[in-house]
């Protein structure tokens, strides 16, 4: 009979667990490239249009490392509720919602202010792209679900103060995925809008800050400034821009460079959209 009065030691020999401090962040991509994007349209049959976007996980062997995973559904064009006033345009509504498990901190089911903020940014980015007067008296809902946020969950010591830099990456992904989903839904657009991010990062004190495209927040010492842009490549126009940070001496040149780099990131993302849309059409033609 087992001795239940005290806690018994383990029967066999054990080795105490050693928590190895993982190596510091390593840059997994060059500063002039963006992570590989997986994009697919038409993944939600019940929606009018849908798309899924996933960013390449920079080092999948590390356990806590996650990449960005976004799913977007477009519902509509559909008729407005009876109570709504006459609208000569399509009424665009955007929702960005993190899944409760998408980030380190659990998210509630109600949208918090950062999610609403992202929704406004997304709306601004898309409203410039769609041709709203083609669909009078109708509405469209665009819902982006962040299945996995762009955060490193590795070890607590590498957790910096949440400065919200990852929000920029999420936003650029939202723009790209929503653009593909809108095209899938057949809503008139002037162009395929794509999102891109560039950041001014500082690895440590000794090196000068550099500008990187598509920054992986965890891999850099600190981010001084970042810029997320929604861009229409054919028209060469920007529908949404979000810059924040501190620029030494309010230098317009750094700012311009940052913008240019994010435009390059947008063009890269746009190529993915174009390719995926072409494939969608071909697939559709094959069926019918």
């Amino acid at each position: 009979m087992a001795d239940r009065r005290r806690i018994n030691g383990p029967v066999g020999a054990t080795t105490p667990p050693i928590f190895d401090k993982p190596a510091g962040p390593v840059a997994t991509k060059t500063s002039d490239a963006i992570r590989k994007i997986f994009l697919k349209t038409g993944i939600t049959p019940s929606a009018s249009g849908s798309a899924y976007l996933e960013l390449e996980n920079p080092n999948p062997q590390r356990p806590g490392n996650t990449s960005l995973k976004l799913s977007c559904t477009v519902h509509g064009p559909r008729s407005l509720p009876r109570s709504a006033p006459f609208s000569p345009h399509i009424i665009l509504t955007t929702h960005v919602k993190y899944a409760p498990f998408a980030t380190r901190q659990r998210r509630g089911y109600l949208r918090d202010s950062s999610e609403r903020d992202l929704g406004v940014h997304l709306e601004t980015a898309l409203r410039g792209a769609i041709i709203a007067d083609r669909w009078p008296k109708s509405g469209v809902d665009i819902i982006v679900t962040v299945v996995e946020g762009d955060q490193d969950r590795d070890s607590p010591e590498s957790q910096k103060d949440d400065e919200g830099w990852d929000m920029m990456n999420v936003l650029s992904g939202c723009i790209t995925v929503a653009s593909a989903a809108i095209a899938d839904a057949g809503i008139d657009c002037v162009d395929t809008v794509a999102g891109g991010v560039a950041a001014l990062v500082c690895e440590d004190d000794k090196t000068a800050p550099t500008i990187v495209m598509d920054p992986i927040v965890a891999e850099h010492g600190s981010i001084l400034a970042a810029c997320c842009v929604a861009y229409l490549p054919t028209r060469d126009e920007i529908t949404n821009m979000w810059f924040k940070g501190r620029l030494p001496g309010a230098d317009m040149m750094v700012y311009d460079k940052l913008m240019e780099k994010s435009l390059v990131a947008c063009r890269c993302a746009n190529r993915v959209i174009v390719q995926e849309l072409n494939e969608t059409v071909k697939k559709g033609q094959g069926i019918s």
């Binding site: 509509g76 559909r78 059409v281």
Partner: protein
Amino acid sequence: MAQTIAIPGQLLGPSSKYVAGPGTHIHEANLYSSVLGTVTIAQPEKKIAPGPAKRLTKIAGLPSSSAQLPTISVSRTGITEKREVLPEVGNVVLCRVTRIQPRQATVAILVVGDTVLEAEWQGVIRPQDVRATEKDKVKIYESFRPGDIVRAQVISLGDQASYYLATASNDLGVIMATSEAGNVMYPVSWKEYRDPETGINENRKVAKPF
């Protein structure tokens, strides 16, 4: 003709050479695609009959200078089953009667031209638009019943909620009806349907069978 794929924002040609059809837009004197689909170039002589291409007829009626040009359009036909078209004035639509009131019959538009709609758009048929003649004598409950399938034509964008439809033509009206007993009926005259089992006639605005 080989089907050219166009994605939104793709350059289609100068606006001096083509007339903008559905699925395209003009930007700085050039035509661009605005939807994902295949490019169609229609010469002005031949009219494209069915479906969402109805829009073309409107543009053809524009000033003569542009009427000679071929119309370029991007259509989603054949790419996906799912496509949404807005009912437009002049379109022939199929709809289901959802509700009847003395002043109007409320319908849900199901099919525009050849296109089966994803969403339901609401339409309204007013008594004066049911028949072309003897409009004053029309009674809504003698013309439609909830559940009927009606072929109608869009006559106006209507108010904020509904499109205005009319059945004031021989080939427009109820094309499918069920009796009060629940049986599918067949038309017997321009204003009556008959239940094959009970043999009772019911009043409808009957569409002339083809």
